[in-house]
Structures are given as C-alpha cells and as structure tokens.
Amino acid sequence: MKGELDTEKTNLFLKLDQTNKQEQQAIEIHKAYRDKILTPISFVDLCLQKARQTSRLNAIVTITEDVAETQSIESEKRFYIEKNIKPLDGITIAIKDNFCTKNIPTTCASEMLKDFIPTYDATVYSKLINDGACLIGKSNLDEFAMGSGTVDSIFGPTRNAWGYNGDTDWRIAGGSSGGSAVAVSTGVCVAAIGSDTGGSTRNPAALCGVVGIKPTYGLVSRYGLIPLVNSMDVPGILARNVEDATTVLNCIAGPDKLDSTTIKRDFKPIELKDIDLSNVKIGIPTEYLCEGMSKEVIDTWKFVEDLLEKEKAIMKTVSLPHTSVSIAVYSILNQCEVASNMARYDGLEFGLRTNEDYSTEELYASSRSQGFNNVVRSRIFAGNYFLLTRNYEKYFLKALKLRRLIADDFKNVFNGENCVDILLTPTTLCDAPLYGDFVSKHNRDQCAFQDYCTQPANMAGIPAVSIPIRIINTEILSKLNISLDILPPKCQELISKVATEQVALGVDCLDPIAISLQQSLQLSKNLEEEYEILKLKLKNKELQVKIDRNQRFMDDLRKELESSIESLSKQSPNPDNIQECIKQMKQKVASYEESYKKATMKFSKLSVPDSVLPKSLQTQLATLASLREEETMWRQRADDVLFTRQARDAFRRRK
C-alpha cells in the first residue's frame, strides 16, 4: 500500500515541477511590479529575509544587504519614475564567491583570500548589474572551486535543502557551486551564477533539483572569475526553470575585450521556441552507463528516454570511446593549471601574509601553507610534478593529446552522416549523498565519482544543461510525506485559503513567500485530491466491511438453511412426500366425511339424541377433528418449506 502512495507522490512532484517550468518567474515578477503588487524594494527585502532565514543551510557566505537595497532602489526608480525598464530589473541573484565584486569580499572560501576585497567587477557581475539585477549575496563553494560537494569551505559545508530537518546528518548540496544551487532552490534568489570547470554548476543543480547551464567555452567572459582551470572554466547559471536561466544567459553572454578567449562573434540572444521533437536526433552514449551508477538514476535516464521516444524524437545509441579516460586526463590538466594559477598567491600584493620574516622564501612557504587547504596544496604539488621538464611529455602533453581525442569524440557524434543533435546523459551517478558518507572519501575520489558524466563537456568546451526530472530519493520523499501529511487540517485549510487568495490576486510566483505559497497551494490542492481519494477509499472500505458483514450473514443463513434442509430431509414426512401425505390425509378425511354423512343420514332418521349416539361414532368425530388439526399443521410446514426453497433460489441467483 505504501509503495503505491510513494509513486503517486513522485508523479505529483514531477507534475509540480513541470507546472513550475511553464512559468517564467522573471516575467511574472515584472508583471507584479507593473501591477504594483510587489515592488523591487519589497521583493529584494523578502529575498534578504529568506537568506537570513535559511542561514542554517549555509548557502550565502556574504549577504550584501546594502548593495541589494541600493540596486533595488535603482530598479524601482527605473520602473516607476524613469520608465526605462531593464530586462533584469528587480530580479534577485546570488554570485558564487569566486567572482570578483567591487568592494565586496571575494574569498574563494579560502583562508588565502579571506580578507580580499577586489577593486573591480567581474564581467558577468557587471553585465547583470547593468541589466538591473540585485545582488543578494555571495554564495558558498569548495575552496577555489576544487570539489564537488561544497564541503571544503572555510565557512563550513552547504546543506542541501531537500530532506534537511536540522539533524546531525544531511545531504550535500553538490558542488562546487553548491551555495548558488541551494540559494536558488530555497528561493533566496531567482537565479544564481556558478562556475563550471568539471561540472561544478550542473552537479549541484542536479542534487538540488534546479536547472544548471554550462554554456559553451568562451560564450561568457571569464574576466573576474578567479580561475581554477582556465581552459575549462565557464561561468554557469542556476535557476528554477529553463526560461529564467535563458534570460540570465542572454544577459551575460557575448564577446568581452577583457577576455581574449571569448568567442569574437556577436551573440544572438537565445529565444525559446516550441520544437518539433520528431526532427531531433538524440544520442544515448553507451559509455556513460558506468559502474557505480545507481539504479534510480538509470531508471530515470530510461524514463526520460521513453518520454522522448513517445514524443517521436529519434533516439540513437552513440559511442564516445574515450569517456572512461576522460576523468584521469581532466585530473592531470586540472592539477597542472591549478599549480600555475596558484603561483600568484605569495602574500605580497594581496591575500594572506604571515609574519614570517626570516626570508622571502620563508614568507612564501608559510603564507601558502596557511592559506591553502589540503586539497589545494595537494593539487599544486601534483601539478608541479606533472609540469617538470622531465615529466612534461609523459603526463601533460599526453593529457593534452587525449583531451583532443575526447573533444574529437564529441565532434564525431555531432557531425557526419550519423550525427545527433544532443546527447542525453545523467548528470550524476547517484542522488545527493549523505554528508557523513561523502566526506569519508578523499577529495580526488569524490570528484572522480561526481564529475564522471559532467567533465567531458568541459574538456570539449561544449555546452551542457542539467534539468531536474524527478526526485528519486524515497527517503526524502517519505520525510516530506510525513511533514505534509501531519499538518493539521485547519492549517492546510489556512494555507490553501491564503494561496487561493494569492492566485485570485494574480500574484503567483513572485517572491520567496509567494513562491512557497504557490507551492503550498499546489500542495494543498494535491492534498485535497489525495484526501478525496482517501475518503473514497475509506468509503470503499466501509462498504467492503458491509459487504463482508452481509456475506457473513448470508453464509450463516445458508448454513442455517442447509441444516434445516438436512433436518427436514431426516423428518417424515419430509417435504418431498408431504403433498402425498396431504392427499392421503384428504382422501382419508373425505372417506371419513362420507361415512360420517352416511351415518348421520342413518341416524337422522333415527333421531337419536347425542347422548345415545353410539360410542363408536363419537370417537370417529374426535378423530376427525384431530385429523383436521394435523392437516393445518402440515400445510403450514409445507408453506415454510416452500419459502425456504424460494429464499435459497433467490440467494443462488444473487450469488
């Protein structure tokens, strides 16, 4: 019984997600601004409130209240006074803490940059701000974005909102842009910026149930993004739906003179259109089905495959033969560039500087060993080893060659006669691991496992998007069930009432609260439905009980009947010959009456007083009376028998 209910729930959530996808929050919010149901200032305030409320999840490391408020005032001015509305006016964002923001601490979650306050803005941020976005805060990450769980941060780990109820163990948010993903999934902001080097945007998006886009390498400027691997880094976008993510992408994409690796062509904004899936060729790379992939993920993969097939998309199995080596190659290239990029942190111009003053070399050594965590230091060591002149060809050059082969794999799949338009793969190999399980593994293994499906796209520079499909974690689900089901009916009513009013006002999906109200509405609607179902089930049960009772009653009746039939058949006369008996009786009676008549006629002539009537006659009269009595008794009995027979027939028919 329970299992059935869970599947129902999953489908409901899937539906919920789909309904959300159809709404474009940015547009809805702007509509509300125009209708003055909300204003940029009030909305930003709500988001800030939400950020504070969810502080236990540790998604935002620096809440930028002043900045957000100033920006919201600007937006409000543009909205209502200047009437010069920008595409992202009053849209709240969070930015991963490895993007430089002028006069706002940018820490990379590292001791090294704990007090680093940039004097310039990253291109991505300045473009967003130019378009009117309001910065709620800087979001948490793994130190220098080296990780896939947002667990290695000087601010502590970020907790996944799903299934979190404040107890000792909880699920990781994924990483390294975990803070951004949690901020979006909890409604702290409409969209967030992450960075994607080996899957750092898509991974937390998948684990937190939001959309995560990794644009083509060079489409979005990296200027101001503190680098992890320059040749793979891309600013990523996290949002609750594809439309919002697209709006943000359209804002931040395009060539940048400050980043020589950006694509020089002018960027044409992306318009989302309905597409005819029957023209779309979708590839399923066989190599992605790998060891360690959980059954649920495989099922979901299959589920989407079926979904697309149903929509008449052309599904093909394709091969990317170098997938399995990709993660090792990625690891080498990553460490080499890390070693190089981290060389600038010497404590002289910026960053942590210890008091070591014996010599410059000592100062370097102590600043760097205090400033970097183990993960960063070990990658620097490994990278420097790979880059040594004697190892260069053995590792780095080979890795570069393999990288070319991996990129060629994609080229081959996307070009040529048997090409496909997109590839369908899972983002992660499993759902969000529990924190305790996750941190028991080495960072290298964490990444090797979490990045398996995501990093090849970075190696090839191609775009990728992670879209939430369904919640596959039954435990989270059951927790949710409990928490929702145990809501007292009155509370449910209240929520639904508020939500209905909200809908009536047309302010659905506006701010974190409205969003949650909208969700509550949806939920309460769903709950109502469910309640109906339950009620019906209850009725059904009652009916069943009734039926059962009837059945039992009938059974009893039947038994009784059978026993009576038995007893009857043992009796003499039994119902079968009773008529004959009656006939005989009647004949007897008739014969007796005849003789009585003859006698009376005989004796009337005689006129003999009764007292003188012969004794024999008197006895004959008495016998007659008793016979009559007996006859009525038998008649009754025959009636009874007849009734039971009818009843039995009726029952049999019913049966």
């Binding site: 990379c108 004097t119 020589s260 190089s340 010497d346 260069y392």
Partner: protein, 545 residues
C-alpha cells in the same frame, strides 16, 4: 606612491668574487676557441604594456603605472597589445626573420618578489619569428685598424613580459618592489652561439708567443658591435628606445670555451649587461676567467653570473646547486597569435605582415652603403656617422638641400662637433644645435666667411645661446667675420712684412719656410680673421716682389 614590502633581500648575492687574475700560462700547449651567443631583451616602445592598459614608461612614480593584471590580482586576464606585435614583427622583418603565421604564449614559472603572478608569459615553444640574421661592422677605434664584416644568426624572436624591480635595502634588511616595469613589453632575441674566435697559445722552446692583445678582444668587441648594430636597427624602427642605461635593452651573454673542433662545452650566462662597453668587457673577462680555470685543469660550472661594471668582473649570481625548472606550460588565457603573411588585409585581430614590411625605414646597413656609394665617404666615416644617429641626421640635412661637400661635412661632424661635445660632456643625442644653425655654420665655413678655428669657437658658443639663435648674429656680434677683401689683406700683409724685416730677409735668402712664420704672425695679429688662403697668395706675391 607605495612600495610593496618584501622582508629580506631576495637574492643572496654571492659575495665571493670568482675573479681570477689573468694568468698567462706559457707552458700549456692549448688552442682554445671561445663561443659566444647573445640573448637580448629589448623593451618595446609602446604606450601601454604587453597585456594590460597600464602606461609603459621609464622613470614613472613608483608603483604608479600598474594595472590590476600587472599586480596579478586574481581573476584578471591578459589582453595582447596589438602594437607590441607590430613592433615585434617589424623588428623580425628587419632582421630577415621568418615571421611565424601562428605563434603562441607559454608560462615560465619561478617565484620571485618582482614577478607577481609567479610566472612570466613568454613564447618559448612557438615564437613570433625565427631564423634571422644580423650583419654588422666590427670597428672599435684604437682596437681595430680597419672595419670588418661579421654576422650572427638569430634563432628566434619572442614576445614576453618584463618583470618588476626589486630594490634591496640592506640596512633595514628588506626589499621593496616596484611594479612599474612589471608586464612591460619585451622582445627577446636569441642569437645562435656563433661568435667564435680562436686563441693560439703556442709555447715552444724558442719563444713564447703570448696572446695578441687584439685577439683577446675579438669576441667581446664583436659581441659589442652586434649589440650596437641591433640598437641602431631597433631605434630606426622605432621599436625600442635602445637606451641601455635605462634598461631598455639588456644583454645576456652565453660564453663557453672549447678545444678547436670539439662540440660546445659547458657555458656560463652573464645576465643583464647594461651597456655596449659592458658587453665587450664582460665577454672578455669571462673568456679569460674560463680559460684560466681550464688551463689549471678545472671545470666550468653551468651558472648565471652578473657583470660588475665598476670592478670589471663577472660574479656568480645564484646558488649553483639549484637548477631552475621553469615548468613551462601553454598560457591558456591567450589564443594562438595569428598574423597574415600573404596579403595586405589587416584586421583588428590579424595583422598583415606585408603591410608592415612596407613601413620598414632605411636600415643602418643601407645607410652605410648609401654614404659610401652616393656620398663617396670613407668606410670608417660611414660607420661612425651611422653609429651616431644624431650626426647622421645632421649630415643628411646638410647635404640634401644645397650642395655641400659631403666629405667635409662628415669630417666637421665627426671631428669638430664631437670634440666640442666631448669637451662639454654632452651626449650627441642631447645636442641642442639645430639643423638651421648647423647649416649657417657650415655655410659660413665653406664660404670662407669664417675659418675652422672660428667654426669650433662658434660651436662651443652656440651651447650658451638660446635655441636656434642665429649664427650670423654671433659672428657679427663677436666680429668674427673672415676678412677676404684683397686690399685689406694686402695691407695687413705689408704691415707684417714691414714689422718683420729679419724674417723677410731670411725668406729672400732662400728659407721659403719663413712664409709660414710670417703667416702665423699675420694670423696672430689679426685674431685669425684673415682668409688665410688669400693671405698666403698675397704674402707670396709681396715677398716675390
């Protein structure tokens, strides 16, 4: 203005001077061949730095020409300065290099306080240009009797970043860092080790033939001449100021010695030589040092040395044990640099090499040929004129508009002007005499308005006058005009003859040389104002009467 403080001097200077006294061994029968190869860093003459918009200037306020990128602030990215590529390409073309259609940038890693990023962006694997050659004249007055031609092959020319400057305060035991130079554009020219000279060192029972002092200088002077020619070329091209005293052009010399016919042996590298004479001195000293070690059965260690210009010795710089591994890696933030080799189509991102080729000016070698062939100058004059761009400029200006005798003009410039400048300790480049003044002055001399003596006096006088002050005015003011009126001269001559009857008598007795004495007296009494050519004629006439 702010220095970035580093706690202690970064370099632990090796104070032990490995200076070995020149010790001419006479009992070793060896024949050494020295091999010298140069690496030259030339700062490109651009407004802004190689990868950032910060001002590229010498002598700016400390740490005042530093962009975020130059200080290696996280998140900043390099953007290649187009002008640097243009200057690099034009230099490469002037040195007949093959400009590479695609070149790329690499990171060279080492930790140093004045290298904020921990790596230098250079072009190690695929340089901007390769396979060139430089032809130059070797001629040092006092060492060489006559000029000779020499050439050196260029392995590659690469674009790279300069580092900042560390200033070591030994008293307070700290270093200060100035990043004004950090990220300035450089081209590194790597020459093949093909400056070779042989030293014969024969000892036999009869006599010891020691080294010819001229031979000792061969490599040093050739290296110096190469650098001089390079300076002239980059100056002509406007690619580099060539001011070695400002560090705009710095020379590293790789020096090794080998037995004749054997492969190259261990070399030492003398870093950052800051003058042309320094190049000659450092190479010479290093050859001497190495030879002494080898003659005494020692080994040369592969090490980096510096040139101490005051004591004229090379000094070991870094710890010998530490072999630097630069861990080269391709620079991922810069796409490969492409140039258009074939057409004159020039875009923002792709520079047309043929278009640049058209802008190459006359090069020193062309100038010398022109001076010899068209102006009929002696080879030495031509070399000297070309070596001093300011003088060459005067020369061209003086011989171009009116027909002035080129040889005379050249001699005036090379002898008289230089003498005056040397006396006043003024660099030729800073000579304030204008072309106009020079023309007036030269014309006055050639038209015999003044004589050579006055000419020199005037040159000197001009330095104390306002810029472009009229020469004729000074002549008038000082009354320095040459007397060429024959009657006046005749009158003066008569006076001299009348006053010196003894000398006249001697002359008439056959001592013709007395004419000179008489002319001398004439010059003296008339303060050098007579046209001596006319005076000589008149004097002779008068004496013969």
């Amino acid at each position: 203005m702010k220095y970035i403080y580093v706690t202690k001097p970064v370099i632990k200077w090796n104070t032990c001077l490995n200076y070995v006294k020149r010790n001419h061994s006479t009992n070793v029968n060896t024949k050494w061949q020295s091999v010298v190869g140069l690496e030259v860093h030339a700062q490109l003459n651009t407004e802004s730095k190689l990868f950032s918009g910060a001002q590229n200037t010498f002598g700016g306020l400390v740490n005042n020409c530093v962009s975020l990128f130059d200080a290696a602030i996280p998140g900043t990215l390099p953007v290649l300065n187009r002008k640097c590529v243009e200057l690099g390409v034009i230099t490469a073309l002037a040195l007949s290099c093959k400009v590479n259609e695609v070149s790329s940038f690499d990171r060279k890693h080492y930790f140093y306080a004045d290298l904020p990023a921990g790596y230098q962006i250079t072009q190690q694997r695929a340089p901007l240009a390769s396979d060139g050659v430089i032809h130059f004249q070797v001629f040092t007055p006092g060492i060489h009797k006559k000029p000779y031609k020499k050439s050196s092959k260029i392995k590659q020319i690469q674009l790279e970043q300069d580092s900042g400057k560390s200033l070591h305060d030994s008293e307070l035991k700290r270093s200060l860092v100035d990043l004004n130079r950090a990220g300035a554009p450089l081209i590194e020219l790597v020459f093949e080790p093909d400056l070779e000279a042989s030293y014969f060192y024969i000892s036999n029972s009869q006599r010891n033939i020691s080294l010819n002092p001229l031979d000792i200088n061969i490599d040093g002077e050739e290296a110096a001449a190469l650098v001089k020619e390079l300076v002239l070329i980059v100056q002509r091209l406007g690619a580099c100021s060539g001011r070695m005293e400002e560090g705009a052009l710095r020379v590293d010399a790789n020096v090794s010695l080998r037995k004749f016919g054997e492969p190259l042996s261990t070399r030492t590298e003398i870093k950052n030589i800051g003058s042309i004479r320094g190049v000659a001195g450092a190479v010479r000293h290093e050859i001497e040092r190495q030879r002494t070690i080898l003659d005494n059965g020692g080994h040369i260690i592969n090490e980096t040395r510096s040139w101490d210009a005051t004591n004229k010795v090379t000094i070991a710089m870094r710890d010998k044990e530490v072999v630097q591994d630069y861990r080269y890696m391709p620079e991922p933030n810069l796409p490969p640099l492409r140039v258009n080799l074939h057409t004159k189509e020039d875009t923002q991102d792709v520079i047309s090499v043929p278009l640049i080729k058209d802008t190459i000016p006359e090069l020193p070698e062309d100038s010398r040929r022109k001076l010899i062939e068209e102006y009929d100058l002696r080879e030495i004059s031509a070399i000297q004129l070309v070596n001093q761009p300011a003088l060459l400029h005067y020369f061209y200006q003086l011989v171009s508009d009116v027909a002035r005798n080129p040889t005379k003009v050249a001699n005036l410039l090379l002898n008289d002007l230089l003498t005056v400048l040397n006396k006043r300790k003024v660099d030729v480049e800073h000579c304030t005499i204008t072309v106009n003044q020079m023309k007036e002055l030269t014309d006055a001399l050639l038209n015999k308005q003044i004589n050579l003596d006055i000419y020199r006096k005037l040159l000197d006088e001009l330095f104390d006058r306002p810029i472009d002050f009229s020469v004729l005015e000074i002549i008038k003011e000082k009354g320095w005009t040459l007397e060429s009126d024959e009657t006046v001269i005749e009158q003066k001559c008569k006076e001299v003859l009348d006053n010196n009857p003894k000398l006249v008598k001697k002359y008439k007795d056959g001592k013709v040389k007395m004419l000179n004495s008489l002319l001398g007296i004439l010059a003296k009494t008339t303060s050098n104002k007579m046209d001596m050519a006319v005076a000589t004629k008149k004097m002779e006439e008068l004496l013969k009467k």
